[in-house]
Amino acid sequence: MKKKLKIAAVIIIISSAYLFGRVQRQILDDINMTSAIGYDYVDKDTVKATAVLPVYKPDQSVGNRTITASDELSKKTLSKINRQAARQVVNGKTEVALYSKKVAKQGIGGLVDSLQRDPSISERMMIVVVDGEANELLNKKYGDRDTGVYLSMLIEQNMKAGLVPKTNLHQFLNDYNSELKDPFLPLIEQKNEDIYFKGIALFKDDHYVKSLRQDQQFIFQALSENLRLGTYKLRLKNNEYAAIENINTKNSYRVQNVKGIPEINIHVKVKGIIREYTGRKTDEKEINLIRKQVEKDLEHQAAAMIRTFQRLKIDPLGFGEQVRSRTRNFNDRKWLEHYSDVKISVRAKVSIIEKGVVD
């Protein structure tokens, strides 16, 4: 009797779990996985969202389909997109989110919120700012995969090569939520049939304020992270060009006078190999010349760049964080007040370790 009761209980539990415990299915071939989402400016309250839906064909090729919808809320646009799609649209595989410059200027905090709140979004997702319309960029198909995957592969490859500073959703959210640091994102542009990197978009809180040109990017990267595979091109006085590759950089911050208005000294060590030189010969004298030139250029660029940051009161390199970690009872407000007056100097030390196989 007792045994029968037990068996009955087990059967009831299992069958009720089966009957009532069902959860929503997302069968792989019955869903549309957005691979990229782009946001464009419509008016002050409305954004236009463009979702890229890869179309997988049985012959293993991938097509590209985009759906556009506009609304005030980012999640709402997704449901509007859903209305236009034959299969349920899900965003767990979104690789890239693009914001047009215009949207970025308005502030992307609200749009990013939908990304950080959604547990299905990857922390490794890329965020980029588009110079131009995100919709236009996404509508085109580049390469053999859909635009989202293509973009993520493009960005990843460039980050690995050290051409673009390493960013992802996690980094962005860290900087965005930080009191001291300001976020920055890669800036891309579509030209003809290709997408290329234009520079770095700088933010104040969630508003886009300015972009760094391509030639300032190297020193920016050298100051924000330790590069492993950078490249640097320089123009010498005698109108010759040199390209340095495989650059290893290492930065070290020194902060003085933490009690009053701090003073920050940054040392950047750059080690690289000459890969290209339009001059005649790379003897010791010439190399020394190149070395000196690079040091001077870098220090110059850094000074100019940091001045701009201080003028705009933005801190994408995290100077505040450097000071905070060296100060007891650090006061955020006081630092932010004095930020534009803080003396920040950069010293570069370049060493050329190899010059290829010819002299």
Binding site: V23, L28, D29, Q60, K93, S152
Partner: protein
């Protein structure tokens, strides 16, 4: 059927040997005749189908006809048998006749009579093991005769410590069952458990040792084998020396070994015939194959039904493209394919020879290709299921393979319900079940739980013989030491 065996209501005058013989005469194969011409007239009766006629004509009748005897005692002395029984116990007579004895009486109506064993010993020749075939090592397998089997074991352990306890089990089958153990090594408690369970066994018919395995298992409702059955006498000899208890049953070509732990089901005895590195690698591969076999289809179902995020973007194209035209949800697709494989296996097993298996596999490939072409299943799943089926056959113990194939279905159903979480829940139930199981009262999951690091020397991996100087702790043997560890340890320097 049962009523044929029921004893006729015994009347008073029928309680004699004569009445018994008369009753038996109703069977066509019962022989009962009178020898009047020899020095002494006598009656002889037997079941013609049970005795070896050659023994009768060569070893019994000539001696009886030659010698003059007046009593059965004299006849016993004349016969070249050492176990001639003289009795008037009706029950004994009845039993002995049915086991193939020849009954000798001086007079038909005498109640005292001599019984000579002349049973027909028809058994298969000792052949090559089929289930546990191994490329290296001995190639003898048990046969259906318990005498032969005992001989095969005794040959390998010619010492007096090997003890055999005999039982007769089964009201109808009267099967002879032998319990083997090593005195001074095997834990008495284990032997007693086995003997106790065998004595308590209430079952009318034991046709094979697997009947016993099912009947004396600690948990009869578990799908895990709690005793290993083997057809290799070398394995039996090996585990006896280790301290296990072995059960042999007449009419069965498989011996039962206990107590065991679940990890032993992944050990082939062949592992001891190859070097320890190979053996360890093979065992690890088997365990991985089994985990793969259980988990891979459920994971496929879980990921495709619920967790699309998990799939790397490079794999996405292959997976989605292969699923594009499939009308069925992953769970149905998987179950149909699993059943197809089971069907092929079952059909292959029922076909007369190994050709059946080949046909089955070829059929499988043809059906599989056709199913993919027709868009009924995805080729990715077909590969997965075929690999999983293949992996389930790597277990050296045949019964474990069945268990594994069956285990997959609850995992599949739960994967369909709650995705990966469902698989975890199924895993939890499996884990707890294994924890709760015992084999002859010893923990089934040993040496994992209770954790005994020393027992890992011959579980999952196999260390060299030199480090196997102690017997497994799980068997709680009386003598832990297998051989002396002390070896002439010479210290050599380089170039000396």
């Amino acid at each position: 059927m049962r009523m044929w065996f029921r004893k006729h209501p015994a009347e008073h005058d029928q309680n004699t040997v004569f009445a018994l013989i008369n009753r038996y005469k109703q069977s066509g194969d019962f022989v009962h005749f009178h020898h009047p011409q020899s020095p002494q007239a006598y009656w002889i009766s037997y079941f013609g189908t049970l005795i070896d006629v050659e023994i009768l004509h060569r070893d019994i009748l000539p001696f009886l006809n030659k010698t003059a005897f007046t009593t059965l005692e004299e006849a016993k002395a004349a016969l070249p048998f050492e176990d001639v029984l003289i009795t008037s116990d009706l029950q004994q007579i009845q039993d002995q006749l049915l086991l193939g004895s020849v009954l000798i009486q001086l007079d038909e109506k005498d109640s005292i009579c001599a019984l000579v064993r002349a049973e027909m010993k028809k058994a298969r020749e000792v052949t090559i093991p089929e289930e546990e075939y191994s490329v290296v090592g001995p190639k003898e397998a048990f046969v259906e005769s318990i005498t032969t089997n005992l001989n095969l074991v005794r040959k390998r352990l010619p010492i007096s410590e090997l003890k055999v306890k005999e039982f007769t089990i089964g009201a109808l089958s009267k099967t002879k069952v032998a319990v083997l153990y090593m005195e001074g090594i095997t834990n008495e408690e284990n032997v007693n458990t086995v003997c106790q369970r065998l004595t308590d066994l209430q079952f009318h018919q034991i046709l094979d040792s697997s009947f016993i395995a099912q009947l004396i298992a600690d948990n009869g409702n578990s799908i895990f084998p709690q005793l290993i059955d083997t057809e290799r006498p070398d394995r039996v000899a090996g585990v006896l020396a280790e301290g296990s208890v072995v059960i042999l049953a007449d009419g069965s070509s498989h011996a039962l070994i206990g107590p065991i732990s679940v990890m032993e089901l992944f050990n082939a005895f062949e592992d001891y015939y190859v070097n320890w590195q190979t053996a360890s690698a093979l065992r690890v591969i088997r365990i991985l194959a089994v985990s793969f076999s259980i988990l891979v289809t459920p994971i496929y179902v879980a990921v495709l039904t619920y967790h699309y995020q998990l799939i790397p973007k490079d794999l996405m194209v292959t997976l989605v493209a292969s699923r594009r035209n499939i009308p069925l949800p992953p769970i149905l697709e998987a179950i149909i394919l699993e059943l197809t494989i089971e069907l092929l296996r079952e059909a292959g097993a029922r076909l007369p020879s190994k050709v059946g298996q080949t046909i089955g596999i070829v059929g499988g490939i043809v059906i599989g290709t056709a199913a993919v072409d027709a868009g009924l299943t995805s080729n990715v799943l077909l590969i997965i299921i075929a690999l999983a089926a293949l992996a389930s056959f790597t277990t050296p113990v045949y019964r474990m393979g069945n268990t594994i194939r069956l285990l997959r279905f609850p995992f599949l159903l739960l994967a369909d319900l709650w995705g990966l979480l469902g698989i975890a829940i199924a895993f939890i139930f499996l884990m707890v079940h294994l924890l709760r199981l015992t084999s002859l009262g010893r923990p089934y999951l040993e040496p994992i739980y209770p954790p005994r690091l020393k027992d890992f020397k011959d579980i999952i991996i196999r260390l060299p013989f030199s480090s196997q100087s102690k017997r497994p702790i799980n068997l709680q043997t009386k003598n832990q030491i297998r051989f002396s560890e002390k070896q002439a340890k010479e210290v050599h320097d380089i170039d000396e």
